[in-house]
Symmetry: C2
């Protein structure tokens, strides 16, 4: 275990768009780079959680070129060489493929801990214990999926069906991945006790991941092989971009995990949330007795179940309920809580200068 720990590299996936947390987040500053919960950004919190588990020399950050500068400012402790720049956004399969060939050059025996940069995790120590448990259970498996015990029939997440192990300390053999289910299916999954939410956090030996690409995404694997010799060449950036752009927009779940055998699942022991939109902030931040959450100088009066956030100045809400009100970057959003999932629709209707 101690030996293995020294070969673990964290790959923090800091991609993503800025729509769901508009007006706080934007394309120039997507969700990982904004302080959603506390004073630190989600990226900073993700790196901070890793610090006593993985030294900064082995924390890699995968991101878009246009976010490299903001990431350098936010986590200056990460060596510049550890930024893995995706020339364009191509979802998690391409992101982790690119990360895998970077890591292969660095340490052919490396273990990759892949983590989204924009999730909420309440207990850093529990997080680290969970990762350690994953590492302990890596031997003999294709890879480890970290799974969340569902507490509601969420239809927006992917699920993982797993088999309860005989020993409590052991990982659960993964039976299958399930794409976002309908409400009835989701309710059945929650009742069963055998289904977990796919957290998007994974652990595998880097060479196993590359083998999985070869087996299940042979064209991507070939493109990655073409990319390998180009990575260090400053003069090849155009070619890198061309090849990377040709990769399919597919998630690692859909491209590889659903097809792979021998995966195991480690249930997480912390409170986790992907905070997919303003409304889901309510699952990560405690509300007052009227169900209101207020961050910044925002005051709810005779109002209930509102999510208020102000970075710019006074916001007063009066006699309303189930609203999201956000004041940031000089802009105001007022949105019904149940439409917070759909800010893309709003943004497509706004004049450019207002976005």
């Amino acid at each position: 275990m101690l030996n293995l720990m020294s070969t673990v590299y964290a790959v923090v996936m800091a991609g993503g768009r800025g729509e769901r947390f508009w007006p706080l987040s934007t394309e120039q500053r997507p969700k990982p780079f904004v302080p959603l919960i506390g004073p630190a950004t989600l990226l900073q919190e993700t790196v901070a959680r890793l610090r006593s588990l993985v030294p900064v020399e082995r924390i890699l950050i995968a991101l878009g070129e246009n976010h490299r500068a903001i990431a350098s400012r936010q986590v200056p402790e990460i060596p510049p060489a550890n930024f893995i720049v995706e020339p364009v956004g191509r979802d998690t399969a391409a992101c982790l493929g690119l990360s895998a060939i970077h890591l292969a050059q660095r340490d052919p025996q490396g273990i990759m801990l892949a983590l989204p940069a924009d999730h909420f995790i309440d207990d850093p120590e529990q997080f680290r214990q969970t990762v350690r448990k994953g590492i302990e259970n890596l031997e003999g498996s294709t890879g480890i999926v970290f799974g969340i015990r569902p507490d509601r029939p969420e239809t927006g997440y992917g699920y993982v069906r797993a088999e309860k192990p005989a020993l409590p300390a052991a990982a659960w053999p993964v039976i299958r991945f399930v794409e976002k289910p309908d409400a009835a299916k989701a309710a059945e999954y929650v009742r069963s006790g055998r289904y977990f939410w796919n957290s998007g956090m994974f652990l595998w030996r880097n060479r196993t991941l590359l083998a999985l690409f070869e087996a299940h995404m042979p064209e991507v694997s070939q493109a990655l092989n073409e990319l390998r010799p180009l990575l260090a060449r400053e003069d090849a950036q155009g070619e890198v971009t061309r090849i990377f752009s040709s990769l399919p927009r597919i998630s690692i779940d859909y491209g590889i995990l659903e097809k792979a055998s021998g995966l195991r699942l480690v249930p997480v022991g912390f409170h986790w949330d992907d905070i997919g939109n303003w409304a889901s902030l309510a699952r990560a931040v405690p509300a007052d007795s009227s169900g209101n959450i207020a961050q910044g100088p925002a005051v709810p009066v005779e109002s209930s179940n509102c999510i208020l956030r102000s970075d710019d100045g006074a916001v007063a809400v009066f006699g309303v309920s189930d609203l999201v009100v956000v004041r940031a970057r000089g802009r105001i959003l007022v949105c019904s809580r149940n439409r917070a999932t759909d800010l893309k629709t709003l943004l497509s209707s706004l004049p450019e200068e207002m976005k």
Copy 2:
């Protein structure tokens, strides 16, 4: 008529508090002094409507000391001597009593046209014609009340019962004033065709008004007589304030009009609204096909029946209905439309620095 016109003095009552249009209006800048409908403030619009009817030398403005500076800036054409300063707010009876003794010194034969500074009137020419009709009908009456034909059973206004005259050009003899009725009474009044809303606009000979004070508010009349010799004395301001402060907080309607006989009513030929709160803006400003009103850079998307106003920057509302959203003076109000009448409650709950 031409002779009479030259003795008409307009008294524009520019008192009032700032609560109902917070955050745009404040105690320092109440409703008459904010641009609610167009680019001009309600005070500016009130004075502009009067311009071709009464020369500025005969337009008086009654206001609080703390609003004298803002009024001078907004209507610089009004001579400084025409500002009648109320030492404290004491409602319309005291305001018009003070105005009457000012006017008595200026022109003992003067006719007073008393007008609130904060009402919406859509058609300035119709307004002037209506005033002229009042002046034509003044002879033989105690005073003229301008009445609005009600188009809904409003319970927030006072009503005036009047008798239809034989000649269409004549004024309607006033039968009685009715304080804010309940919904059933209000509906009955609207159906009857004999009830009008009290517009708060009045016309009378100034000496008649002073006689009405003597008859119906003898203590106020006595106080006014004490004030008369003090008005021009700079050294008597403390005494003026003391006496004026002792006056009861009573409206002219309640203090005098309800008791007076011989009043006549002239129905108005323009669209009028007192715009009592943000929600009532909807009666003065046209809405889009979804019932939304948007002033400034405020965009409703998949929203209906919202009143949006921004003086400071971008406001986007999404998937909501029946809200008032106002952005002004660095502050944001989000309020349900049916609570817009009650902003006082909100303000009493806000921390001082947010108001």
